[in-house]
Every structure is written in structure tokens, then in C-alpha cells.
Amino acid sequence: MAETRVVGIDLGTTNSLVAYMEGDKPVVIPGVDGSNLVPSVVALDPIPANGNRPTVTVGNSARRALIETPERVIYSVKRLMGRGLEEVKSELELFPFRLAEDIEPGEVPRIQLGELRFTPPEISAYVLRQLKRNAERFFGAPVTQAVITVPAYFNDAQRQATKDAGRMAGLEVLRLVNEPTAAALAYGLDRGKEGTIAVYDLGGGTFDISILKLRDGIFEVQSTNGDTHLGGDDIDNLLVAIALDEIRSEHGVDLRAHPGAVQALRKVAIDAKVQLSAEPAARFDFELPNGDRYQREIPRSVFEQLIEPVLNRTVNPCKQAMADAGIVPEDIDEVVLVGGSTRIPAVRRLVDDLFHLAARGKKPHIELNPDEVVALGAAVQAGILAGASKTTEELLLLDVTPLSLGIEALGGVVAKIIQRNSTIPASATEHFTTGVDGQTNVAIHVLQGERELASDCRSLARFDLKGIPPMSAGLPRIEVKFLIDADGILRVSAREQRSGKAAQIEVKPTYGLTDEQVESMILDSFDHAEEDFARRLLIEARNEAESILSKVEQARANPAWDQLRGEEQASIEAASHRLMQMKEGDNTAAIRDATLALDRATQRLAELMMDAAVTEAIRGKTMASAAEELDEDVTAPHPMAPAEFK
């Protein structure tokens, strides 16, 4: 098998990207259309005439459907990830999507898309699968492992939802990495710098600030803060709302009743926003359904006044992050800007003020494309995990948990057990007991957040400790270990100490999918299954071919090669040559046949090499160590790739 690659994915609110390490440099993988950005937009095609399940499209083609069939398109789904019904409802007030009806309380909300309904992780899974396909096309090999980035301020449920989406897309998520940390990694790689850096990340839907200390290749996050509800979307919404109001008062048309027109208007608003980063003014020119035109000029000064309240919401998180890190602006050596919204000049001025940059003769870093830097960093982290390159070998990320973890105590008060900004993995051990004689269950409510009252924090899960041996009240001593793993996700284990019995834990996540639900949502079970499978087979066949060819190449240097008869060598040469030709084509069956032929031709070579390895291994060694080495070495020079075709 060719070595499996780990890709880095930036699953963004507006756009998503996939990148990998090309040698010691992270590179973004373009899609078929040559574009690095895949819009995080998912559209459901019309139901085909044969009544089959409709096809799902992702990216630019889905974006085009936004105006024609807005009821079949969803975007910015990242805002809904890991959120409960009430939160999704308030979020949807700003978006044209509809919630599926009859959702039970505690169920993960589903969005109605045409005649089907999807959970937010499923929608994200479609975006991820598109990125996976882009990477597979690029490598000509399957991609099954990935690092995915999340906003640093994502909570447990949002992280879990992102991991679920990866699994549905057929990706093993080796690590969730915080977006600002990834950006720092992408920058740090280029410069090998030391010092304190702040990453200001204002994306499409989320805002993060992280403060890191760089030293000897170790990226140690000191503190992080943010707002998972703040980004370029909010600016677009402001512009759209103003235009809608003006259209209603000036033209007497209420566009809110026309979702397609609102989408078209949103596009005009986004174009104006982008233009305003470069020009002193932008023009709105929009044709109404009745043929009238809504025309308006927006000077930059008006735009800046309008968005000031949005931008100011980034100030407190930055101040809190500095306070938590125990530093003042002067301690920050560099500031890195991430996210498309940091192109706005007013954002740059705000950052300059916040960190006293100009006063110290400094400028924020914008050398790397702010749309791509997170994906590039994800690729670097993928390289670190794969342990594949010299460049990444010396690097290590030490990240923190953005929110404190607590448990609900008497009176609805939260007792914090792991403080925010603790380096992860982090753990805490707590002891619980019973309040009633013979009690065999103890319920624990776990929360995330900074507030004093449980009702003000986010409920993560309720744990039911079961199977406690019946004893007098207060006698059992149940030790519960809370551990936040390297992805920022909570794990819990428990033990009753007097009996030594491991207590059973039943976890009821407050918002989230069960394992079985995730399993049932794995994408490739429908939609393109046929086509994907054929393609997968072709890719696998090519990999097998590569593998056996490279092993035959290595075997030529083995003494066993010289023990072969002339015609045996010639038949191996011929079979190799044929396989090399076949694997360039698309005929899976022909590649398999040629692989099997080469496999057969090398049978005796394999035996000779095996004999030699055994003799070599046994000579002067104990049986145990020989067996151990055989395990390694006998298979290694064996030219027979595991060519199992079904």
C-alpha cells in the first residue's frame, strides 16, 4: 500500500479547504474547477424522474442553486453545529432555512431541504466528502484520515458534532485543531520564531482570539477567547436588513416573501462589502421582481459606522484573553490576522489600537492568504501526526480548553473542576456519595461555561452512575475522573472505591447524536454509492499495483534474484512492464489481472527470499528474537502484495 496521507481540512462557515504537506511545505489542494475554496454550500437537486433519492451537490454549483431554488440549499451550517433546538431557532431567524417539523425535545434539530431533512453534521459531512474527493482526485489514492479545524471557542457539543461529520464523510478525524492555533502553526513554520503572538481570527461566522508562546518549536497556547456567533455573516445581515427596509419603504415591495430575491440581494451586499475594503464607496444596484431598480451608494464611512457595533464585540474577548494570559499589549511580539473579514480596513485599525501596534512600529501579519492560512496550518498538524517529515518532527502544539468545566452542586451552583485555558489533555478527579440509604444511582450534571449558576452555563451531559453497591447514605465513595482529551472533548470514568467496582456510566449528551445515529448517517450508503465504489476499486487496484512494483524493484537487489533462472527473470520483467502500462489506464479489471500475473511470476522469488530470511534470522539468535524479526523481515521483502480482490 502507498503510505496513507493525512490531510488538513478547514471546515469554514463560508468556505472550506483541504491541504496537505508537500515535502516540508503545506499546499492547498484545488477542486476540479481549479479553485482552492469550496463554498460551504450544499444543495439538493430536484428528484429524478425515476423517483430515486435526489443528488446532493456541494460548493460553487450549489451556490448557483441558491437563487433559483433557495428552499433546496443550505449554507453557513457551521453556525448550527452542536446546537440545541432553541439556539437553532433563534439562529434561523436570520437565515432562509426551515426547521423540520415535529422535532422531539432533546433531539438533534433537522433542517428541511426540499423533501428531505438533515442534521447539521450531515450537511457538513457533504462538504467534507467533497473535500475528500478533491484530495483523492489530486493524489489518485484514497484519503481516509484528516485533521479538521474548529473555532477555538467551540464547546464540547460543537466539537463532537464536527467529529461526527467527519465520520459520516468516511474520514477518521485524527485531531481537531483550533483554527487560530493552526494559523499560528502555518506562520511559525515559515519563520521559526520565538516570542508571544496573538492570532485575531474573524471569519464568516465565528471570532477567536488566541495568545501563544513560541519556544523551541513548541506552540503553547496561553489563553483563548471568542464568540461563536460573530463574523462576516453578521455584517452581510446588517447590509441586507437595511436594503430590505429601504426597498419596502421606497418601492413598497417586501422582499422577505421572496427567498430567492433575498439571496440575490445578499450576494449584491457581499460584493459591496468586499468592494468597500478597497474602494472609498460601493454601489448597490439591484433589480426588484417588479422590474424596478434599487440603487444606492454606500460610502465607506457609512459602512464603517454601521459595522462598528459588530467589530466592537471583538474587543472584550481580546482584553479577557490578555488578562488570562497575564500580559499587556506591549508583551505581544506579533499579531496574525486570519479570516476573510480581517481584510476590512476598519478591522485592521481596531487590531492596531487593541495591541498598540503602530505605536510600537509594528504591523499585523497578513503575508499568508487569510482565507487559506488555517487550512495550511491544519496540513502542518496533519504532518506532525503522520510523523512523516523532518520539518514537522520538532513541532508540537499545546492547546487549551476555551471554557471551564463544572458540575452542578446543591442549589444549582456550578463547582468548577477544570478551569478555562488549562492545557489539554487535562483532568480532574471528584468524589461523590449517596444521600439516601441503599441508593444505587448517582446523577451528575456536567456543564461548560464561566457563569456561577448552572442555568447560565451550557449543559454538556448528564451522567448516571449506576450499580453502586447498596450501603448507608454517605458511605459509598465514588471517584469520577473527568478528562478533556487533545480534541477538547470530555471523557468520564467512575469507580466506587470501597467496593473497587467500576460504576457504570450512562451518558446522555444534552445535544448530540448517539453512535448508532452517526452510523446510520454515514454518507456513502446512498447517493452515488455505485459510482464511488467503482472509483474506489480503481484507486485500490492502482495502489496494489504500485506496491507490488516497488517491492519487485527492491527485490532485484536481493541475492535471491540471482538464484532465479534466466527465463524466470524475463517473465517477471514482462509482467512488470505490462502492469506498469495497465495501471496508467482506467480499467480496474485489467490492472487486477496484471497484478495477479506479476504476483504469480514472482512466486519462486518470494520463496527464495523467505528461505534466505529465515536462515539469516535463525543463525546465532534465540528463537524468540528470531520469530520477532521474522514477523518484520519476512514479510518485508516478500514481493507479493496483499493482492486480494473480491
Binding site: 519556544r215 513548541i218 498538524q381 501526526l385 510523523g387 488549562s422 492545557t423 489539554i424 489533555p425 487533545a486
Partner: protein, 230 residues
Amino acid sequence: MTNALDSAIPVACWSCHVAQNDVTLFCPHCSKIQPAAAGDFFQVFGLRRAFRIDPEELEREFHRLSRKLHPDRFARASEREREWSLADTALLNDAYRTLKDPLYRTEYLLKLEGAEIGEQHAGKNRQDPSRVPPDLLEEVFDLNLQLEEMREAKAAGEADPVLQANLKEAKTKFEGLVEAVDEELRRQWKVWDEGNAQAREPAKTAMVRLIDRRRYLSNLVRDVTETLGA
């Protein structure tokens, strides 16, 4: 001094079953990671129990161990090794977080040495007169009155520059008292670190009292800061 994570070797390595007396984090025979042995936070860093720690050295050791233990180094290892790496790293991080902070470290070591330290949130019950350090009773009483007045003034949207100035002055004074406590704590650290069992006992008692006083004072300072800033 050996260190708990480096010396986390069971009687025999789980992987190659070679028994090993030498202390190392990875089995010297087959280089596999080993599960963490039980130990206190000082042992994690191979330190003897002491109140004074060189922060630079602690950080270097933290980085060295992180490089070896972090789950990123085991992303593709066996399930068992990944679990050990996670548990070992969580222990390392918990230990580092506690030891690098002088106050956490002091409280932690005092507890290890059998001292009883008041609850973390005890300071919240400031109003409870029994918790007020006796020498501060009068001042605390005055301060609380002023804080209450200030909150009322703020709620009513009034500015009271005299009160503001008084509170600022009080804040500076109490901050000074915190510093005095820290000074005294550092002196007791030295006494304990360098002393024999006989010298250590009174130092321990003194530190428990100082920690309590410090917590009380810093809660006061926090309240004043919040009231002034809000």
C-alpha cells in the same frame, strides 16, 4: 532525582516483557511508551518536595516531557499506547499547571504535607466576621460600607469622585498587604525548604495562616476592582 513519568516502568515491559530496573519513560529494550506510575506532581518532574522551584527549569522539563508523551506523537499508535499517552499527558499538564503557579504550588505542597487548607471559595463568605483577619476587622467593615455605597451610586447612574478616590486608595493599601503576605510566604518557603522536621512544622502552620489571609485579601481587592470598573 528520578521522575515519575520517566520511571514509569512496571516490573516488566507490557510489550517485550523484558524486566527493567533502569528508570526511563520508554522501555529501553523495545522503546515503547509505558503507563504512568502513581506519584505526586513533584515526582512527575523528578523534583524533591520544595516550595521554591526554578520556573525556567520547570518549563524546560515540561517541554521535554511533552515532546515525548503528547498524544500527537501517538496518533497512529495502538489503542493502548494512545490511552497511556493521553493519561500520562493529562497528568503532566495537571502537574505543570499546579507547580508553575506559586500559590497553587504552595497550597498543593501544604496539602501533601497534611495541612488543612480552607475551601477554594471560602473567601466568598467575606461577610462572615469569624473569617476576617482580626487586625483588619475595622478597615474591612469600612470598606464594605463604601463598596455598598459605590454600587448604589453606580446603579443610580451617579458619579461620586470622593468615594471613587477613597476606594482607589483602599485598593492600593490592600494590594500592599497582599504583597506583604507574599513576602512573608517566600520567607517561610525558605525556612521549610532548608529546615529540618523541627523547623518545618512552625513554617507549615505559618503558611496555612498566610494562605488564608492572602485569599481573603485578594478577594477584597477583586471586589474593589470589579466595583470600580463595572
